[in-house]
Amino acid sequence: MIKIKFVIVSLIGLMIAISSFKSDKIKPTKTINVLVKEPSGIAYDEIENVFYIVSDNGKLYKLNRSFEIIKKAPHNGIDFEDVCLANNYVIVTDETARKILFFDKELNLVSIKNISYSGGRNKGVESITFNEKANQLVLVTEKEPIYIFICDEELIEENTLEVNLAGDISSLTYHKGSYYFLSDDDRKLIKTDLTFNKIDEWSLPIVNPEGLTFNKDQLIVVSDDLQKAYFFDATNF
């Protein structure tokens, strides 16, 4: 019995020791529940001061700054994984269906474009962001391998890169001249330059981080499994 207690205490001690070495871990300043089931992607609209959140079950929502749902898109997809804003469109990736959907800001479906990528069903185009400086849409596959498709605003492919930034990529966003990648498997936030070279990375104390965006002064990460949004001080990044 004494031996069992010794083993348990030793294991707990070991875990605490391991976790204490992660000096790059950052802590959220605020956490709130998200009313959207299985949130998988988030985008912030600075003009209207609203958020757009997509759900794993193919739904798109518009939320106010307090994260209350204002509107739901009438069009349902299959497996929405990420959302971004570009030129007054709300653009959504449907990973399983291999589609990119363009909505207006009132969440009316405007157009659909098909993506011809035959990787695994859950390893398709996971994330999308818009680099407004370069006027480029950037798409990323989830894993095995992680491809970055650089496209123009009409989704015409300009370049394809394979990167090895993390075990998987669950989300990507462009912010102030850098790209920020989120990894669910590694629970990491990774900052890169515009050619996707790693600049810095941080461990996130979040279960199943699936989407990220920046508002004026905060980085916001949503967790699919916990249906929560975590707010971090943006000056840390």
């Binding site: 294991l11 875990m15 391991i18 976790s19 089931k37 299985e38 079950n57 193919g58 349902n76 299959i78 399983t96 269906a97 291999r98 589609k99 659909i112 098909n114 035959s118 990787g119 695994g120 069903r121 390893k123 398709g124 095995e144 391998p145 075990g167 669910d184 498997d185 629970r187 996130l204 104390p205 979040i206 279960v207 199943n208 967790s223 499994d225 916990l226 249906q227």
Partner: protein, 395 residues
């Protein structure tokens, strides 16, 4: 020199083998994914000198074995229909040797268009036992625990399952009706009783949903727990002269009986910072309609009350060292096949898996050590066993 050359070539092949990504096809509404898996191991048993006074002369378990050669088709139509077809060519090739593994692993479709529950119809895993429901590709072991590997209760069957999740997927509920013949159920008719087996399961997780996994490969930043309760009931009474389909009763003759059978189990799982654990307990009350059934061990009704208990447990602790891409695990098992017959078995397994490319490519080693045998029911001719091999997923 030649052996060295072959060995070095094999290692180079393993290390340089490109990962084959699975394929998926989609027309925008209907998507189909094709994946596969192969695994091969070498097994070595440390045999006893003799069993029941006779010298051991059969060493056939010291061999290479193609464990898996699986192909899987997973389809989805919109958000309403899903289907899965999975088969194992290694099992099909060896069906003469092991008829309890027919090779078909899944063949079902699911309707998700109802608000209260999903309906699944066909052949696949029954919702009983967390260990059984956990996909084996995510395990460091080469064999499941004795109690949940399909000899004690059936792991697969043909039937109807209703399922639903609640509270942000933290609660999962399953209810189903099946032939009760387990893996043999797909071979044709029901047994002569014509009765079904009914299975129910509920699991509750906190603080988030807990997938059916036994390794904390995502290094959970907060402690996560899940507890599951499940039960299954069948009352199949065969008329005189009738028999169950061949092999359906299983090695311990507990999978299906002529009489009433009630099985219930509890499982508890946790994971935190790479450490994960799983404990399962199962018990079966077997009430044969024939008072002369071997299950009652030749004892009188006054001594037995007309029933026997069978059951056991397994407890497993694993630790994933992500920077080293290595999993260490230890498992203790206990099984009492029949409480009316003296004895129980206990075994200890230690496993290690080195990930060449995550779970997609793993070198796995499992060492089995028999602590105690149930000699009267299941005498063994070995004391220790080691298995080493390679698991490769085409996905």
């Amino acid at each position: 020199m030649k052996t060295q050359h072959i060995f070095i070539t094999a290692i180079m092949l393993i290390c340089s083998f490109p990962m084959i990504s699975q394929l998926s096809l989609s027309n925008g509404k209907h998507s189909l994914e094709i994946t596969g898996m192969m695994s091969t191991y070498y097994n070595y048993r440390f045999y006893k000198d003799s069993l029941n006074g006779a010298p051991i002369q059969d060493f056939k378990k010291n061999r290479f074995k193609l464990k898996d050669a699986q192909i899987q088709f997973e389809g989805r139509y919109g958000n309403t229909y899903e289907y899965e077809l999975q088969f194992d060519l290694a099992d099909i090739a060896s069906i003469g040797e092991d008829p309890t593994n027919p090779g078909l692993m899944d063949a079902y479709f699911m309707y998700k268009g109802l608000s209260w529950f999903n309906v699944s119809l066909g052949y696949g895993k029954t919702p009983y036992s967390r260990s059984s429901l956990t996909p084996f590709i995510y395990s460091a072991y080469w064999q499941r625990a004795q109690i949940s590997r399909g000899e004690f209760f059936g792991r697969r069957d043909i039937g109807l399952t209703l399922s639903q999740d609640y509270w942000k997927q933290r609660i999962n509920i399953y209810l189903g009706a099946y032939t009760g013949l387990g893996e043999i159920g797909i071979k044709g008719d029901n047994d002569a009783s014509g009765k079904l087996e009914y299975i129910g399961r509920m699991d509750i997780a906190y603080p988030s949903r807990f997938r059916y996994r036994e390794i904390d490969d995502k290094i959970s930043p907060i402690p996560m727990f899940a507890v599951g309760f499940n039960g299954r009931y069948a009352n199949k009474i065969l008329a005189d002269g009738e028999e169950f389909p061949e092999f359906s009763q299983g090695e311990f003759e507990t999978k299906v009986i002529s009489g009433e059978k009630l099985t219930y189990g509890l499982d508890f799982a946790f994971q935190y910072m790479g450490l994960s654990g799983l404990v399962e307990v199962h018990q079966m009350k077997l009430t044969p309609n024939d008072t002369l059934s071997p299950l009652l061990a030749g004892l009188s009704g006054e001594q037995t009350g007309g029933y026997a208990y069978s059951g056991g447990m397994s407890a497993q602790l694993s630790y994933y060292i992500k920077p080293a891409q290595t999993i260490f695990s230890a498992r203790w098992e206990q099984l009492n096949i029949n409480d009316l017959i003296e004895g129980e078995s206990q075994r200890l397994s230690i496993a290690m898996a080195y990930q060449l490319k995550g779970f997609n490519s793993m070198i796995k080693v499992q060492y089995f050590h028999i602590l105690q045998e149930e000699e009267l029911i299941d005498p063994l001719n070995w004391t220790n066993q080691i298995r080493i091999g390679w698991q490769y997923l085409l996905r």
